[in-house]
């Protein structure tokens, strides 16, 4: 596009925006003056504008969240998969931030809840027995004020005293009762029943042992336990997910229920209870009483809370202004009269106080019912709308928790109608079973809610129950074997009590010994077995992840697709337990995809031209077929394809390679036998596996047959396939090596670059990423056994995990199928510091400073990460050019070993017994004596190297017979008359290379700073 045209577009676009939407079209038409393409361009931009509004709304990183590869260089599929599949718990455990500080207002809101719960608990524990009646406080039938008893609980003090429903009591007596409620005692009441007036005495007992052991007391305790559970889970939700508004709503709802529960203990909540506890509340320190009543008042808004939480579940519910508008404001307004009548007036005004007419309470009740009804409707609506199976499970779980309780409570409420037969049934059959079960039922709500919020991936409820029961049974069996054996033996002894002990031992001694040794074995192994049981039940999915991640690695090494495919299928079967799994392969020219490997019966072939295959080709990503889902798949696919999916029961289809001209393949998976859905993590690992398989499938079309060996030119190092006898370039003979030219099916050797103590370095081509790399093949005698291989892997991993501009980058490492251990590194051009020293003798000061600074900063960074190099020497420093400047890179960090391990191993010898790692002329005195390597050995070597670069000679060259030094001789004196040393430098090196470790610089950074100072001084002196 030309700049002028763009300018014109920009001008028209902004100008059009200034006008009203309906005038824009005309304006643009006019402005373009007949230039149709310009008009179209501007109009399409204007048309796109509203839709682009949300585009790039959140920054790229947030949008891409969590998909960076582990390492910028080695972003392998496997690393990628691992990165993505971290278990949330693990990840947060690593970062150490599982609990977070909730926002201030939540802490503020929790005060009334906690105060209220505290008061109710203490009242329940230490207060007197509740009177057990329900009073209608405003039923004033005369000026004196008579209050009607609307209900009397069975076996309650009120019932014992002879009160009946419909009795009238004067406010005067009630106020007296309210003002002096002794913990236990008698209160006389005037009672009007019909036309007669009598006097009854209410006797309330304190809560003694008898009370707590009775059904009432136990029920109260259980409900208190429930209430505590609610509050604790509310707290956990808030602390674990303070930013998640769903969790906040859930926490508020649970807290509301949690505070409300103890009030139901007295069976008759509300004004009568408040009348009894009024004295206690008013005698609390100033301010605490209202806070407690505020807590109760917030609980009255339970239905609003339920609406806020359930209405949006499992997505984010109402937030911000809408939350206030739809829940809290109406909730507060309509419940004020209810709160006043139920809580505030009985406490602060008494029975003679002002009266809130009953009609004012109606909106509160009506709105409460509306909220509850709306919650149910929205919950059902959401359930229909959600397609993700896991979300549906979460919703079902919450609905189960609430549904069971709502049903039970509704039934309970319905039976409290004053119809004699129903009431009889209620007391005789319902209450005895319902009451003990109620605490359990009630506990379902918080458990289900918290679980559904905190766990994002879950089993179906019935699977959970089944698994739980199986686990409990297995654990119980294991734990009960010892006591059961002991019991059997004891019973046996007792039943044969008349026989002498010798007789018993003779007859069944062997049996006893076997039982005892079995029990002993069990006792010893119990912990292990219990752990195994735990793993079996709960850690299976960790294993699954491990297995599948290993598959990605295996596939990379496999030679043919068929071989890899059967391995993949067996591993998928072992880790995910699908009902079936298989690969369907389509050869070019064939009519259909046929099954090549599968567990159980092979699925029928799919026609290659079917809509299903076309769709997967188009999407190029896994396709889910969830049965019974009114999804778009049902609309997209023709009937025969749907039938096919239904018959095979395939749940997921993963494309391996589709759309190419070569062989195509699809991985078909049935549902898991555990009925658990495939999680996002499963799908991502499976995608990674199919991705690797795709490479294999493509490669297997072009790869030459495996070679039996390769030739390497003895003089120039060029590598050839077997069969070539003479080097093309210099006609020298080739030495044959018994390995394939392509290492690990990925790195094709081109030229030998050098040989060292560790192994041989080749220039190779990475056939997957099409780039040149350096591959170091470790000498086989350095890798004598599996121990060495394991150590190599560990160390290579440490090196690969450390990147620094002055350290050669390690791309990959491993042990190839033919046993060669290798490290793949960036290919550098340049020469080693040793070569440079041989060529130039001495280097100039500025260059020395640059090289030492680079190497030193890398060493310092490595030391920060507890990595030691242990073999710093000019041969291991490579000088390369980058952006016109010389950069020194350290090679061979592969020898490093973490300091932490070193400490753990104490003074164990280094890599193999009797072998000292390092090169003698660069080894510090204490290292020669055999003390474990520390940072100081790297710094020492750096100092020796710096000396060598500055002077061209080794600091101890004059007298060094290293073998003698090693065998206990004196460490030589510094070669102080080396050329080019000023007094300052000499002092510096005398310090840095002192036999006494305490005189030397402590860290690589300190070494650098001191060297810089010394060199600057030298420059100054010269000037």
């Amino acid at each position: 596009m030309k700049p002028e045209r763009w300018q014109e577009i920009v001008r028209l676009y902004y100008a059009a925006l200034e006008r009203k939407p309906e005038e824009r079209a005309d304006f643009v038409k006019e402005g373009c003056g007949g230039n149709e393409s310009l008009r179209k361009e501007v109009e399409s931009l204007l048309a796109c504008r509203p839709r682009a509004e949300k585009f790039m709304e959140s920054p790229a990183l947030e949008a891409a969240g969590g998909i960076l590869p582990e390492n910028p260089q080695a972003g392998s599929t496997e690393g990628n998969a691992r990165q993505k599949h971290e278990i949330p718990g693990e990840a947060s455990a690593r970062s150490g931030r599982r609990w977070m500080t909730p926002p201030w207002w939540i802490l503020f809101l929790s005060v009334p809840f906690v105060a209220c719960a505290g008061f109710l608990y203490s009242w329940l524990f230490f207060g007197p027995e509740p009177a057990g009646w329900m009073l209608q406080l405003d039923n004033r039938v005369s000026a004196e004020g008579w209050n009607r008893i609307t209900s009397v609980g069975p076996h309650s003090p009120a019932a014992r005293a002879g009160f009946q429903r419909g009795d009238l009591i004067p406010s005067r007596d009630l106020d007296q009762f309210r003002a002096h409620p002794q913990a236990a005692g008698q209160t006389r009441f005037q009672v009007k029943r019909g036309d007669e007036t009598t006097e009854l005495t209410l006797t309330r007992k304190g809560k003694d042992r008898e009370y707590w052991l009775g059904s009432e007391g136990i029920r109260a305790l259980l409900l208190i336990v429930d209430s505590v559970l609610y509050l604790i889970l509310a707290g956990i939700l808030v602390v674990m997910r303070p930013q998640d508004s769903l969790a906040r709503w859930g926490a508020i709802l649970l807290a509301q229920f949690g505070v409300f529960l103890p009030m139901t203990v007295v069976r008759i909540p509300g004004s009568s209870f408040m009348l009894e506890s009024a004295h206690a509340l008013r005698s609390l320190p100033i301010g605490l009483g209202p806070v407690i009543l505020l807590g109760m008042s917030i609980c009255t808004m339970g239905p609003a809370g339920a609406f806020g939480f359930l209405g949006g579940f499992p997505r984010t519910p109402l937030t911000g202004r809408r939350a206030w508008l739809f829940t809290w404001v109406p909730g507060i307004v309509v419940t004020i009269p209810v709160d006043l009548r139920m809580y505030w007036l009985p406490v602060y005004a008494g029975a003679n106080g002002p009266v809130i007419p009953i009609w004012l309470l109606m909106p509160g009740w009506v709105l409460g019912v509306c909220y509850l009804a709306a919650s149910v409707v929205l919950l059902m609506h959401n359930y229909r709308k959600i397609e993700e199976r896991n979300e549906r499970r979460r919703l079902r779980l919450v609905a189960t928790g609430f549904g069971i309780n709502v049903f039970a409570m509704a039934a309970n409420l319905a039976m409290q109608t004053p119809v004699a037969p129903i009431e009889r049934f209620h007391y005789a059959y319902w209450l005895p079973y319902f009451e003990p079960a109620r605490p359990l039922l009630v506990a379902l709500i918080p458990i289900c809610t918290a679980y559904a919020i905190l766990r994002h991936r879950m089993f179906d409820i019935h699977v959970m129950i089944r698994l739980g029961l199986r686990y409990a049974a297995a654990r119980g069996l294991l734990l009960s074997i010892i006591p059961a054996t002991a019991l059997v033996l004891a019973v046996d002894l007792m039943t044969h009590g008349n026989q002498p002990l010798v007789e018993i031992a003779r007859r069944r001694g062997l049996l006893y010994a076997a039982a005892a040794s079995g029990a002993f074995l069990l006792h010893v192994r119990q912990k292990t077995w219990l752990n195994a049981l735990d793993r079996r039940f709960f850690r299976e999915h960790y294993d699954a992840r491990r297995l599948l991640s290993a598959v990605v690695e295996d596939v990379r090494r496999a030679e043919t697709f068929d071989q890899a495919a059967s391995h993949v299928i067996s591993q998928i079967e072992a880790s995910l337990h699908p009902k079936f799994a298989g690969f369907m392969v389509h050869e070019p020219g064939a009519a259909s995809f046929r099954s090549v490997v599968s567990t159980f019966s092979a699925p029928a072939p799919i026609p290659a031209h079917s809509r299903l295959i076309a769709l997967i080709r188009l999407l190029d990503k896994p396709l889910e077929n969830s049965q019974g889902q009114s999804g778009r798949l049902q609309q997209e696919l023709p009937l025969e394809d749907l039938e096919y999916l239904k018959e095979t029961g395939a749940e997921w289809l993963f494309p391996v390679t589709l759309g190419g001209t070569g062989t195509e393949a699809v991985l078909v998976l049935g549902p898991k036998r555990s009925e658990e859905p495939y999680s996002q993590e499963d799908r991502e690992i499976l995608s990674a596996i199919t991705g690797s398989l795709a490479l294999l499938l493509e490669r297997s079309l072009v790869v030459v047959p495996i070679q039996s060996g390769f030739g390497e030119c003895q003089s120039c190092g060029r590598c050839y396939d077997s069969g070539v006898a003479i080097c093309e370039t210099d006609s020298a003979g080739l030495s044959t090596l018994p390995y394939s030219l392509t290492l690990a099916r990925r790195y094709r050797f081109e030229r030998r670059l050098g040989r060292g103590g560790m192994g041989t370095v080749y220039q190779a081509r990475d056939v997957e990423l099409e780039r040149l790399v350096a591959v170091k093949v470790i000498r086989s005698e350095r890798m004598p056994g599996t121990d060495a291989v394991a150590r190599f892997r560990r160390e290579a991993k440490a090196a690969a995990g450390f990147s620094h501009p002055n350290v050669v980058t390690v791309y990959d490492f491993g042990v190839a199928e033919d046993g060669r251990a290798y490290l793949v590194m960036e290919l550098l051009s340049g020469c080693s510091l040793r070569e440079e020293l041989v060529r130039c003798g001495r280097l100039d000061t500025k260059r020395v400073l640059e090289i030492v600074s680079g190497v030193g900063s890398a060493i310092a960074a490595a030391h920060d990460r507890m990595l030691l190099h242990r073999d710093i020497k000019p041969e291991n420093i490579f000088l390369t050019k980058s952006g016109g400047e010389e950069v020194a890179k350290i090679l061979d960090f592969g020898l490093a070993k973490t300091l932490a391990q070193e400490e753990a191993m104490d003074s164990m010898p280094d890599t193999a017994p009797g072998i000292l790692i390092g090169t003698l002329p660069y080894m510090s005195p204490e290292r020669m004596r055999g003390t474990p390597a520390t940072e100081s050995c790297d710094i020492w070597a750096l100092a020796v190297m710096a000396f060598e670069m500055l002077t061209g000679v080794h600091p101890f060259a004059s007298s060094a017979d290293w073998r003698m030094v090693l065998h206990g001789g004196q460490f030589p004196a510094l070669n102080a008359d080396a050329p080019g040393l000023t007094q300052g430098l000499k002092e510096f090196f005398e310090r840095s290379l002192a036999a006494d470790r305490s005189r030397r610089p402590l860290s690589a950074r300190q070494f650098l700073t001191e060297l810089q100072a010394a060199l600057q001084e030298q420059a100054y002196l010269r000037a």
């Binding site: 920054p59 790229a60 990183l61 998909i67 990840a91 599982r98």
Partner: protein, 192 residues
């Protein structure tokens, strides 16, 4: 990188601000590494419920790398501009490498339409956006820069305005047009 001394970055930053192009070449790998490292640690924390925020990330990188007492405000905005460019590179590079591994280099073109099946392919979208943004930069460098600063650098209008030395209002207008144009461009490309 923990081993990079802050004075080094500070000096490079000052040198670059003073017009030394070579300083930028040396600065970039240092900042790139640090941003990359931070992006990772941020993502780990995100698992624990943290909200991922580019601004916080870039700020942290700044505090880690630069000796804040020694730089002028002007240098600071320069740093943030580099950071935005590097964040673009980090994200797009990683999207590309993943994409390449997934399907042997072939980038699947996916539309941004609301269709359930076609959406949720952040990698391809990001690569597509990067291409479109490069195209935009050819005709209108400033608006492309605005997108880089806002979308990849997570900057507010005011911050971007400061870097570009224009008013926040201008940035808003630029952002509006650039966003619309990119959106349309990506839809076009997806159809092709």
């Amino acid at each position: 990188m923990a081993g990079v001394p802050s004075h080094e970055v500070t000096q490079l930053l000052q040198a670059w601000s003073a017009g030394d192009r070579a300083a930028l070449d040396r600065l970039i790998p240092l900042v790139y590494d640090e941003l990359h490292r931070l992006a990772h640690s941020y993502m780990r924390r995100e698992h624990a419920g943290h909200i991922l925020q580019t601004t916080a990330l870039v700020n942290e990188a700044y505090l880690q790398l630069v000796d804040t007492d020694k730089v002028k405000w002007h240098d600071r905005t320069h740093f943030f501009a580099i950071a935005a460019r590097l964040m673009r590179r980090i994200l797009v590079d990683s999207a590309r490498s993943r994409s390449a591994q997934k399907r042997g280099g072939k980038i699947c073109r996916v539309s941004l339409s609301d269709s359930v099946v076609f959406a949720s392919e952040p990698d391809a979208d990001l690569i597509e956006l990067d291409d479109a943004l490069t195209a935009l930069a050819e005709v209108d460098a400033r608006r492309a820069k605005v997108v880089e600063l806002r979308f990849f650098g997570g900057m507010t209008l005011e911050e971007a305005a400061e870097v570009l030395n224009v008013s926040a209002d201008t940035v808003w207008h630029d952002w509006d047009l650039a966003k619309t144009w990119l959106f349309r461009e990506m839809k076009h490309r997806a159809k092709r």
